[in-house]
């Protein structure tokens, strides 16, 4: 249990990279990119966890209750929202690539010249 979340993080990263490299469609590739990004969220939260502690919100509990690290949660929180917008931008590129080249196969798009 001490290192199991990190093993899962490495697994998700590896699986996502495999999907990106062997992808035959740009939209599938972008979804694999989302999987790779999600591995970093799990890693961030896994680093900041304290066994037995509660979430860092002290509205109804005492201020000295041990809580997990709030900084990595702040990072992961803005990350999730911003990566969704960047994914939308990538999909807009995919739509325009389809309009111009007619294909969305990454292995064919490489050899096309503008």
């Amino acid at each position: 249990m001490q290192y199991f979340p990190f093993v899962v993080v490495a697994w998700i990263l590896g699986v996502g990279l495999y999907g990106i490299v062997t992808s035959r469609h740009l939209v599938h590739l972008i979804m694999c990119l989302i999987v790779v990004q999600s591995s970093t969220y799990v890693l961030l939260l896994g680093v900041g966890y304290v066994t037995g502690a509660v979430a860092p919100y002290f509205y109804d509990i005492g201020v000295h209750t041990p809580a997990v690290d709030p900084v990595v949660q702040a990072l992961a929180l803005t990350d999730v929202v911003v990566e969704a917008a960047v994914t939308a931008l990538l999909l807009a590129f995919a739509v325009q690539a389809h309009k111009r080249f007619g294909t969305l196969d990454p292995q064919e798009l490489v050899s096309l010249k503008g």
Partner: protein, 253 residues
């Protein structure tokens, strides 16, 4: 390089890379054994320093406000990029939003979907607004509130037609709201500088009760602006894609 050869080369490289990555991760202190003092110090002093009981939002908008400003401008740029990239290419024409209802032969949206979407729109707006404006109390903050508000607009589209969605969120108004959100965040920082304090210093009165609506100074204000900006950015993105899918057609020759 044939695809299967590429796959084998990748598997060999990935085995080495993941092995090194895992070796690095196993050097961490272990899951649940967070050693660093920064998180514990913040948890101890954040409530009394900022009078905000939601420490994550206090970190986001006060202690690490500058990083959040950068992330918010990434969001703004991505939304602007989507609008620019999806502009009409030469050789396309945009159908007016009225004709497309006539010859569309897609099945009508089922009544269950429409009713559920309609039922949930109101509560989602309330929850999103509450999240965006109460950053200092429980789990809330501008980013969560903003995406919930954008979800409400998507529910409007699901429960009606694209035209209803367009009427609720005209592009000019959404653009202005997004700009106000992003500019407001930057302006709060600049107004701290105008008072002779560091950029994004929490200069508004902090209040006395931790977690009350009027406490925690600029955190509430910044979170509200961020909520506006995130909601407007996602509404713009979804609106652009909807227009591309429904309105823009190849010019048939």
């Amino acid at each position: 390089m044939t695809p299967s050869l590429r796959r084998w080369v990748f598997l060999a490289a990935a085995a080495g890379f993941v092995a090194f990555y895992l070796w690095g991760l196993l050097g961490l202190p272990g899951f649940g054994k967070y050693p660093g003092p920064y998180g514990f110090v913040l948890n101890r002093i954040a409530v009394s320093q900022t009078k905000a009981t939601g420490v994550v939002s206090a970190v986001n908008f006060d202690y690490r406000g500058f990083d959040t400003l950068g992330e918010e401008f990434i969001l703004l740029t991505a939304a602007a990029g989507v609008s620019i990239v999806l502009r009409r290419l030469r050789g396309e024409r945009e159908r007016s939003a009225v004709d497309e209802a006539v010859d569309r032969d897609v099945p009508a949206t089922s009544s269950a979907v429409r009713m559920l979407a309609l039922l949930f729109t109101g509560p989602v707006v309330v929850v999103g607004w509450w999240l965006a404006s109460h950053a200092q109390t429980s789990p809330s903050g501008g980013f969560q509130g903003g995406v919930f508000l954008a979800t409400a607009f998507i529910l409007v589209y699901l429960s009606g037609e694209f035209l209803v969605f367009k009427r609720f969120s005209p592009v000019d108004l959404t653009d202005v709201v997004e700009a106000v959100g992003a500019g407001g965040f930057a302006a709060i920082g600049v107004s701290a500088v105008a008072m002779g304090l560091p950029y994004l210093y929490n200069f508004l009165p902090l209040g006395t009760t931790p977690g009350a609506v009027s406490s925690s100074g600029t955190i509430v204000l910044i979170s509200f602006f961020v909520g506006l900006e995130v909601a407007a950015a996602f509404i713009l993105i979804v609106g652009e894609l909807l227009e591309q899918t429904l309105l823009i057609r190849r010019r048939s020759g």
